[in-house]
């Protein structure tokens, strides 16, 4: 009963929330991008390339945030057999993977003029790459299992194991990096960041979070509709002849 009632309530609620979410996300992203690209000053060292940061840092934040979201949704899905949580976790994974790709791509674009190379085996870059692999594994597991409830539980176990492992991976990679090469690359995380950079960055971060929320709602709704269509289709097949005669 709960299983049928919940997606319905979710559809109602998310349908009402969606316009606000997407509106706020659009407003924040446009405002943030305007401030980042036109208002924020050039950095005295990095000149215009500093603007990549406004796209890059929020993407890095979201890469971790989305995985944490998936893990929480997975725990809720496993513990309460909550179908909407399962679908939300599934819906979030490709978005998180895209954030990871965006982070790596913008990082490479920034690294080329700043560090003179597209890629270094820096601790953060390496753990970001591993995180992308984790996303891909999670998505592949979903794809490999046909039955949705079984796939949801298998993927949930993987997400929880992954979230336990991520801090260990981050620590090990940082440790590995200091062992192999002493810190040679200065990054933009001094004790303080100028307010003219901070405000656009915070707005962009909020914009990314709202953008993610909008997409997750949208994708979860699509998933629910897809499943409804599938069960309708199966019901149709089951009573095939009858349906034909009514049609």
């Amino acid at each position: 009963m709960l299983i049928h009632a919940n997606p319905k309530r979710f559809m109602d609620l998310s349908g009402r929330l969606l316009p606000y979410f997407s509106g706020v996300a659009g407003f924040l992203l446009v405002l943030g991008l305007y401030l980042a690209l036109f208002v924020a000053p050039k950095d005295y060292q990095q000149s215009e390339t500093v603007r990549i940061m406004f796209v890059h840092v929020p993407a890095a934040l979201m890469t971790t945030f989305v995985y944490a979201f998936m893990a929480v949704a997975s725990i809720v899905g496993l513990a309460w057999k909550h179908p909407v949580a399962d679908m939300a976790a599934k819906a979030a994974a490709p978005i998180g993977a895209c954030f990871a790709v965006l982070m790596l791509a913008t990082g490479a674009l920034w690294g080329q003029p700043m560090w003179g190379t597209w890629w270094v085996w820096d601790a953060r870059l390496t753990s970001a790459l591993v995180q992308l692999f984790l996303y891909i594994g999670y998505i592949a597991l979903w794809e490999a299992i046909d039955e949705p409830t079984r796939a949801a539980r298998a993927a949930a176990i993987l997400a929880i194991v992954g979230v336990i492992n991520i801090p260990i991976i981050k620590f090990s990679v940082e440790w590995w990096n200091t062992l192999h090469q002493p810190a040679s690359l200065a990054k933009l995380d001094g004790p303080s960041i100028d307010p003219s950079f901070l405000w656009p960055l915070l707005i962009m971060m909020a914009g990314y979070v709202m953008f993610f929320a909008t997409l997750v709602l949208l994708r979860t709704r699509t998933e629910i509709l897809n499943r409804r269509m599938r069960s309708l289709h199966m019901a149709q097949v089951r009573v095939g002849e009858q349906v034909k005669s009514y049609g």
Partner: protein, 230 residues
């Protein structure tokens, strides 16, 4: 009644022992997957000098890393039989009827897997160290790191093996799922050899990672097995 109970339900330890013995006999009779894994390991590592060139200085720098990557690949290739074989012939259903908590069952399977697959790899590792010009003092650390680290690899692999049990093309997916999770063990394993002493900080971290895997992996793998059996 109580005497009957103890007769029909032996304690955990005898079941675990017979599970491990069964797996080892099976592995020996089937033609030694451990032997094949060791040969695979030797071949993979022998290909490295062909790829990077025969300079001894270069080889001695990358020796420990290549040995660890080889161990990782060789144990991954054998992992897809860990639960799959029992799933296919129906033994897994009988295991579920045993008065044995599932995580303990997983642990017993992993112990047997480690004895039949990882031990042969550890045994040939020093020979490969010689081939790759591994510095002399590092051999002790290499063996110790492998003994500490490979149980962790097997345990992490058991989660992926349980998740992919019964799936089409499970083997490929198994590698995809477990390789990123094995990153810390690879890093600490190689690091502990590089430090040049027997017992060092990375050896301790390697041990810690394996200990965490001992706690987490049997529970996660048991959950995945249960899910794939229903």
């Amino acid at each position: 009644m109580s005497s009957l109970n103890t007769q029909s339900q032996p304690g955990l330890l005898p079941i675990v022992k017979s599970m491990i013995a069964r797996d080892m006999v099976l592995s020996a009779r089937i033609g030694g997957s451990g032997f094949l894994a060791a040969v695979f390991f030797i071949i993979v590592v022998s290909l490295v000098p062909l790829g990077v060139g025969p300079q001894p200085e270069v080889l001695s720098v990358i020796a420990s890393g290549m040995i660890w990557v080889g161990v990782l690949l060789a144990s991954l290739l054998s992992l897809d039989r860990l639960f799959q074989a029992d799933f296919e012939d129906g033994s897994m259903e009988l295991f579920f009827l045993l008065p044995l908590p599932l995580p303990v069952l997983v642990l017993a399977k992993v112990v047997a897997f480690w004895l039949t697959t990882a031990l042969p790899l550890i045994a040939v590792a020093p020979i490969l160290g010689l081939l790759l010009n591994l510095p002399g003092p590092s051999f002790g650390a290499l063996i110790l790191a492998l003994v500490i680290g490979t149980p962790g690899l097997s345990l992490i692999g058991s989660i992926a093996a349980a998740l992919t049990m019964g799936l089409r093309r499970g083997g490929l997916l198994l590698s995809l799922l477990s390789l990123p999770l094995c990153v810390p063990i690879l890093i600490f394993g190689v690091g502990s050899i590089a430090e040049g002493s027997m017992w060092n900080s990375s050896m301790a971290l390697l041990l810690a990672t394996t200990l965490i895997a001992i706690v987490v992996a049997p529970i996660a793998a048991a959950g995945a097995l249960k899910l794939n059996m229903t």
